[in-house]
Amino acid sequence: MSALARLRYRLVKDALLPAALALKRGGKKSRPPDPLFGPPLKSTSDLRRIMARHYALASHAKGAMPVAWVTSGAPVELLRAFGFYTVYPENHSALCGARKLGPEISAEAEARGYSQDLCSYARVDLGHAFSGKTPVGSLPAPDLLFCANNICQTVLYWFKALSREYGIPLVLLDTPYLHGGRDEASAFAYVEDQLRRAVTDLERFARKDFDEARFLQVLESSRRAARLWGGVLETLRRRPAPMTIFDAFVHLMPIVSLRGLPVCERYYEGLLAELRDRAERGVAAVPGERHRLLWDNIAIWFALGPLARLFAEHGAVPVVATYTHAWAETAHQMDLQNPFAALARTYGGIFLNRDLAHRRAFLEALSREYAVDGAVLHSARSCKPYSIGQYDLKQSLRETPGIPSVVLEADMTDHRVWSEAQARTRLEAFFEALEGRGIGGSSDQGSA
C-alpha cells in the first residue's frame, strides 16, 4: 500500500467527492408525481448518493488499502476490522442488471467458454473481470477474495475462477448445509474454527495484528444496522404499506454492501424514521392497496420498474420478501460476548443454507405476519439453490396458510430469458384470480 495512494484516497473521500455529489444533487430535477404511486421516498436521494460515493471511492481504493471482493453472505465484519475496502460482485451484477447491461457484460464471459446456463450474477461479474465493462466507471481489482458458500455452492466455483484470473488468494468459509437441526452444533463449530483460522490468514495477508476492539465495534454496528433494516421491513406490515418490496430491493443495497460501517446505520435510521412517519400518516406506496403479496427469490432487476407499475395498476403491493428478510432475520444472534461463535451461527444459519422445510415455515410465518393474500415466486433461471423446490412450495402455500401463488419464470439480470408479454398475461390472470377470491378488501387491518 502506498502513502501517496492513501493520501489521494483521503482527499477524494473528504473533499472532492462530497463537493461533486453536492453539485450533482443541486442539479437534479425532481420527477413529476405519478398517480399510480404515493409520493417518492425522500431517502432515495440519500441512497443514490451513498452508493455513488461507495463506487466512486472504490476506484480510488486500490493501493490505498487492501481491496477484497466478497460474497453477500460472507462475514464482512472480519475484513472491516483489518481495514479492507470491500466490493460486492453480486451487488455490482444486480446494478448491471438494473441498467439492462446483463447480457452485454455476461457475453464477455460466455465468449471465454462460460455457459449461458450459469448463474448470471457470476457471468456478469466474470464478464466485467475479463473486459472491465461496468456502468460505475471502474471497480478496483481485488487483492483478496472472501467467499462463504452459505448462499450457494455456485459462489465457490465463481470465486475459484476469479482467484485464477487475478492470481490472488481466496479465503473460503465452508458453511455446511443444514438439514433439520441435528448436526447444527458440529457445523457451527466447524465454521467458528474457520473464522479463527481466517483471522490468522488475514493477519498474514494484511501484515497487521487483529484488532479485536475494532472488530467488536464493527460487529455492534452490523447488528444495529441489521436491526434497523428489520425495523424498516416491519413498517410494511402496516396497511397501506408505506413502501413496496420493489422499493426495498433497492434500499437493501447498504445492508448488503456497507454493513458494519457508520454510513449504513445512519442511512437506515433516516429511512426508518421516514417510513414510520409515512405509516403514521397513512401515506401509501400504492394508493388503493388491494392485494398484499409475498415475493420469493431475488429481484428481477431489469424489470423492477415495469413490474412495479403492473402491480400498482392492479392495486397489488408486494409487502414482504424472503430475500430482503435474509439480512434482518439473524441480527438477534450477534452476541458480542462470544463473537466468533455468534458469527458462525449468524452466517452459517441463514435461511438459504437450510432445508426446504425451514423455507416453508419461513414463508408461512412471513405470510401471516404481513397478512398477505398471495405470493409471487420468482423462479430465477440461473439461480438453482433459490429456485429448485418452488413448484412444490407453491402447492404447500396453497395448503397452509391457504394462499394462492404464481410462479414467474425469469432471471436476476439476464433479460434474454424474459418475456414481458408472457409475464404480464400470467400476472394479470393471477391478479384476476385474487379479485375473484374477494380478498384484500380495505376492511382488513394489518398492524405495524
Partner: protein, 361 residues
C-alpha cells in the same frame, strides 16, 4: 460376465438378508454402509427419463437430478430401505430436501455433507464428526455394525481401490484389450456391487482382457460420467481409446496410488476421503485439477483431453473454461463438448469430435 441390472441386484441383496440404500452421489463413505450389511445402490443415470420430474423441477436442472427424481417418483427406488444423499452441488442439495420435506418420502433420508474447498486439519476434523453423525443415523436405519465389521469394510474399500488402480494402470499402459464400452460396464458395476464381488469381477476382467490395447488415439475424458450412452461405441468406431478418465462417477472416485492409513477405522475413512482426486463437486482449486489432468494425460500417453460438459451441471461448467485454457497453455490439445444424457450422439457433436481428432498433432 455381464453384471446384473441394479434393480435385480438390489432385490437379490435383499433376498440375502442385506439392506439396500439408494444413494444419490457423488462421493460418500461406502465403508460405513458395508459395515452394517447395507448394499449401496447408486443413482446416476437411470433409464427413467425425465418426464415425471418435470412438474417439480425447472427445465434447466441437470439430467442427473431430473432422472433421479423421476426414478423416485415412479417407484424405482422401491427396493431401498432408506435413501442417502451426499452433498455435491446446489441442485442435488435441493433434491435432498425436496424429496423428504415437500414430497413426503417416509423412509429415512440420510444426508452427508463432505467439506468443500478445503483439505486441511479443520476439514478433516469436521469430516470425522460428519462420519460419526452419519454412523449414528445408519445405526438407526440399519442397526449397529458387528464387532470388527467396520475394519473389514475398510479393508474391502482398500481392495476395491487396489483393483481399480490395477485396471486403470493396465488401460493407461496399453495392456488392456477391451472396448470403451466394456471397460465402463466393468468399472461402473462398482456403483452397486457388493465390494467383495466388485473386486472379484474387476480382477477377473483385467486378467481376461490382459493383452495389448487396440491401436487407436489415446485420449483423456473428463466430465460427470460417460454419457450419452451412444458415445462409447462411437468412440470405438472412430478409433478413440479412452486411456484415462476424470469422470466424477469413475476416475475421480478412488484414490490413485497408495491409500493413507490411520490407526482407527473412522479417521482412516476420513483421510482416504480427503485423498480422493480433486473434483469440482468438492470445490477443489482449479490448479489441483489441472495438475491431476496433466498427470493423467502424461501417464496414459494421451494425445489430448476431451471434456464432456453435461448441460446444466454448474460445478463442471464453471471449471471447464479455466481447465481447458490451462491445458492448452501446457501444450495439451483439448476439446469441450456440451452433452446431454440419452441415447445417440448428436451429429454436430460427432463432427466436432472428428475435427478435433484430425487436428491432433
Amino acid at each position: 460376465m455381464t453384471p446384473p441390472s441394479r434393480r435385480a441386484y438390489a432385490l437379490e441383496q435383499k433376498a440375502r438378508g442385506r439392506k439396500v440404500a439408494a444413494v444419490f452421489p457423488a462421493r460418500y463413505p461406502a465403508e460405513l454402509l458395508w459395515a452394517r450389511d447395507v448394499c449401496p445402490v447408486e443413482v446416476w443415470d437411470p433409464p427413467a427419463g425425465t418426464q415425471a420430474a418435470q412438474a417439480h423441477l425447472q427445465a434447466n436442472v441437470c439430467s442427473v437430478v431430473h432422472r433421479a427424481l423421476s426414478l423416485w417418483l415412479s417407484g424405482g427406488t422401491g427396493a431401498a430401505d432408506f435413501l442417502l444423499f451426499s452433498h455435491a452441488c446446489d441442485s442435488l442439495q435441493n433434491l435432498s430436501t425436496l424429496v423428504p420435506d415437500l414430497l413426503g418420502e417416509g423412509r429415512p433420508c440420510l444426508f452427508f455433507y463432505p467439506p468443500k474447498g478445503r483439505r486441511d486439519d479443520l476439514a478433516e476434523g469436521y469430516l470425522e464428526r460428519q462420519l460419526e453423525a452419519l454412523s449414528e443415523r445408519l445405526d438407526e436405519a440399519a442397526g449397529r455394525p458387528r464387532e470388527g465389521a467396520l475394519e473389514r469394510a475398510v479393508a474391502w474399500g482398500e481392495a476395491r481401490t487396489r483393483a481399480l488402480n490395477d485396471l486403470y494402470d493396465a488401460r493407461a499402459g496399453g495392456r488392456l484389450a477391451a472396448s470403451n464400452g466394456e471397460f465402463y460396464a466393468a468399472v461402473r458395476a462398482c456403483e452397486y456391487l457388493w465390494p467383495e464381488e466388485a473386486v472379484l469381477r474387476l480382477d477377473a476382467f483385467r486378467t481376461e482382457r490382459s493383452g495389448p490395447s487396440a491401436s487407436g488415439i489415446p485420449l483423456v475424458f473428463s466430465g460427470v460420467l460417460p454419457q450419452p450412452a451412444g458415445l462409447l461405441p462411437r468412440l470405438d468406431d472412430l478409433g478413440v481409446r479412452i486411456a484415462e478418465d476424470d469422470f466424477i462417477a469413475c476416475g475421480r472416485r478412488f484414490v490413485r496410488g497408495s491409500l493413507p492409513h490411520s490407526g482407527e477405522p473412522l479417521p482412516t475413512v476420513a483421510r482416504r476421503f480427503l485423498a480422493l482426486p480433486p473434483c469440482s463437486t468438492a470445490g477443489s482449486p482449479v490448479p489441483d485439477r489441472l495438475d491431476f489432468l496433466t498427470r493423467l494425460a502424461g501417464r496414459s500417453s494421451a494425445r489430448g483431453v476431451v471434456f464432456l460438459a453435461l448441460k446444466f451441471c454448474e460445478p463442471e461448467l464453471f471449471d471447464v473454461p479455466t481447465l481447458a485454457e490451462g491445458l492448452r497453455s501446457r501444450g495439451i490439445p483439448c476439446l469441450v463438448l456440451e452433452v446431454e444424457m440419452g441415447g445417440d450422439v448428436p451429429a454436430q457433436t460427432l463432427t466436432r469430435l472428428e475435427a478435433f481428432l484430425e487436428s491432433l498433432p
